[in-house]
């Protein structure tokens, strides 16, 4: 059946994002302070996510990783300072324009009604409806599902999936959005070993294609192996930011996590391995 032309269809005037050159800033936080209720959760945050780069946010529970991600996603208002996406303060963008520029994977994937997996992934294409890039819908959905290995349960209802499968479907939806900034909140939390690696390989591929990736990770080994830079958060501030090999030192991590750790290079790749100091 041929889709009918809808007479009510309005071509929305939306500013589409222009392609970015590698290394140019996609999202920036400047002097950012965020309060949740009465509690200040983030303070004096200066951070830049650059095109073509994977930036990992690490730190102990309650350090403010998810809050920082939410602030970069324009979910939370800044009490002081500002967040800019694609060169403009986030408050200047409309929700529809922001959706063309950043995709967000939340910590837990919920769905009120049992939509089939393929339709959930297709929801990621909603921001592009009515734009010239709506033609990419089918290939974007298909390739996102293939990359996250969820194609085989395309027709199953989302509610019938296991936790790890749901997490991958949620990631597929975010990838299908094809935004130049990806904000992922613990994408590996519910996943097995193989799929943890898969997800971070996808991050690398997207970065190589010119996107900026900001990913909250608990596994320091994963962060060290896959991130270009890591920001270590501690008590709502950035303790240090830089390439993992430089910033993941036993002294710093031991202090931030209040747990002595040993850091040594991987015998083959040289990437830092972080292991808690345990009794012999």
């Amino acid at each position: 059946m041929k889709p009918l032309k809808n007479p009510f269809r309005v071509r929305v005037r939306r500013l589409l994002p222009a392609p970015l050159s590698p290394g140019s800033p996609v999202a920036e936080a400047r002097g950012l302070r965020v309060r949740l209720g009465q509690r200040p959760v983030l303070d004096s945050i200066d951070l830049t996510a650059r095109a073509g780069e994977v930036l990992a946010l690490v730190g102990p529970n309650g350090a403010g990783k998810s809050t920082l991600l939410a602030a970069l996603a324009a979910d939370l208002p800044a009490e002081q300072g500002e967040v800019r996406i694609d060169g403009r303060p986030v408050t200047d963008w409309s929700p529809a324009e922001l959706a063309l520029r950043r995709a967000v994977l939340p910590q837990s994937a919920a769905l009120s009604f049992p939509f089939p997996v393929a339709e959930v992934v297709r929801m990621g294409r909603a921001p592009w409806a009515g734009t010239e890039r709506a033609d990419e819908d089918d290939p974007a959905v298909a390739s996102a599902m293939a990359a996250t290995e969820v194609t085989e349960f395309a027709e199953r209802p989302f509610s019938a999936l296991s936790g790890g499968e749901r997490a991958r479907v949620a990631l597929a939806r975010v990838l299908a959005q094809r935004a130049p900034l990806l904000l992922l909140d613990e994408p590996t939390a519910a996943l097995d070993l193989r799929h943890q690696e898969l997800v971070l390989r996808i991050c690398r591929e997207r970065a190589a294609a010119g996107d900026a990736i900001v990913v909250v990770l608990h596994d320091l080994g994963l962060a060290a192996a896959y991130a270009d830079r890591a920001a270590v958060l501690h008590g709502g501030r950035i303790a240090v930011v830089g390439p993992p090999a430089g910033v993941f030192t036993g002294e710093l991590l031991g202090e931030v996590y209040r747990q002595p750790v040993e850091v040594f290079p991987h015998p083959r790749t040289g990437a830092p391995l972080v292991v808690p100091t345990r009794g012999a």
């Binding site: 059946m1 889709p3 009918l4 032309k5 809808n6 009510f8 269809r9 309005v10 996603a73 979910d75 409309s94 929700p95 529809a96 324009e97 922001l98 959706a99 063309l100 950043r102 995709a103 967000v104 939340p106 919920a110 769905l111 009120s112 009604f113 049992p114 939509f115 089939p116 393929a118 339709e119 959930v120 992934v121 929801m123 990621g124 909603a126 921001p127 409806a129 009515g130 819908d137 089918d138 959905v141 298909a142 599902m145 194609t151 395309a154 027709e155 509610s159 939806r173 959005q177």
Partner: protein, 363 residues
């Protein structure tokens, strides 16, 4: 009504992940509902204490439209045009409003148990209507009852919404308990108005509480037509956004939905539709719960079919229900609200049990 989403024109084909277009059953279902609805309208127009053969009904309608056909005798013409047809028209409007309001409300609350009757919106609107009767208000003429029902219904939706949400989501328990509280309070207010009303007003108010279409007239149809039609026309345009809202408020916002605006518009639409239904027919519960659920089972939860489909299904249920209410206990007439509650409550009970089992306890 057919789906015409402003953003995505393809309604009946959904491309699967493999790229092959798949014909969804929504087209067949819509056609089936429309056919059943037409048939039941004709049956309902013909059947009753004064029975009119189907052919004569069609003939008379043709005659009035100036397309040939023949008028009935004087009594027949009067029964058909002054009693039966306004009643059928009212059943269509009220049913479509209730079905659509149910589907919208479930989408907005992200909760499959939300329904105007269950969570107290209908009672709230009834308070407004009863107040206008008991106090003898008449500031908008024919539309007074509808306007009062709308104002009170809107206030109730806002109240329930504010009370039952915490942390951006609505839990089943909170929603149902809020419904109990709101229903109880509305019941008390209605009781107060009854206490102060005179006898004529009391019989009018009692009719409300049972829910019935027995007093259908063309002026009543006109009194709710604008509310119902406006609500029914606006609702399908938000189908796509309601789909996204199923992901949760945050994720919907990340996909470009202005959640605050969506919520305000839809709460207004729900209040409009519920007020339209309650203003003429009193409280008819469970239609908005039953119809969207059956359609979701048949065709999945996508709102582009669900919203117009629920309007059609609601209209069908009410036309059939009203026909049954008029004919099963002939010559007496059952109140329609009693009938829908009789069938709706066990269904609601089953749904509650199923929801509890699925979510592993109350959530």
């Amino acid at each position: 009504m057919t789906t015409s989403s402003p953003e995505r024109p393809r309604t009946d084909t959904t491309a699967t992940a493999t790229g092959k277009p798949r014909r969804s059953p929504s087209f067949a279902l819509t056609a089936g509902l429309l056919a059943a609805l037409l048939l039941c309208c004709l049956l309902s127009a013909g059947l009753g204490a004064y029975s009119i053969p189907l052919g004569d009904v069609l003939g008379s309608v043709q005659h009035r439209l100036g397309l040939g056909g023949a008028a009935l005798d004087r009594v027949g013409e009067s029964v058909l045009w002054n009693v039966r047809l306004p009643r059928v028209a009212l059943a269509l409007l009220v049913g479509a409003s209730l079905g659509c309001a149910g589907a919208l409300m479930q989408g907005v609350f992200g909760n499959p148990l939300a329904e105007p009757g269950v969570i107290g919106i209908s009672s709230g609107a009834a308070v407004g209507a009863v107040a206008s009767i008991a106090l003898g208000l008449n500031f908008f003429g024919n539309w007074t009852v509808t306007v009062c029902a709308f104002a009170a219904g809107l206030a109730t939706v806002l109240l329930v919404y504010a009370l039952s949400r915490s942390g951006g989501r609505t839990e089943v328990v909170t929603l149902i308990l809020t419904g109990i509280a709101v229903n109880a309070f509305a019941g008390a207010l209605i009781g107060l108005f009854v206490f102060f009303a005179d006898n004529a007003q009391i019989s009018q108010i009692t009719f409300w509480q049972l829910g019935s279409l027995a007093q259908a007239t063309w002026p009543k149809v006109l009194a709710v037509l604008p509310c119902a039609v406006l609500g029914l026309l606006v609702a399908p345009f938000y189908a796509r956004k309601l789909d996204l809202l199923a992901l949760g408020e945050r994720s919907a916002r990340h996909l470009g939905v202005d959640v605050e605006r969506l919520r305000i518009v839809l709460v207004l639409v729900v209040a409009l539709l519920t007020a339209a239904a309650v203003a003429v027919a009193g409280i008819i519960s469970f239609v908005g719960l039953l119809v969207p659920h059956l359609l979701r089972m048949a065709n999945g939860p996508g709102h582009r079919f669900l919203i117009p489909g629920s309007a059609l299904g609601g209209a069908l249920v009410l036309v059939v229900g009203d026909l049954a209410a008029r004919t099963v206990a002939d010559p007496a007439e059952l109140p329609l609200g009693v009938l829908t509650a009789l069938f709706g409550s066990p269904f609601f009970f089953w749904l509650l049990r199923r929801t509890r089992r699925k979510q592993g306890g109350w959530a």
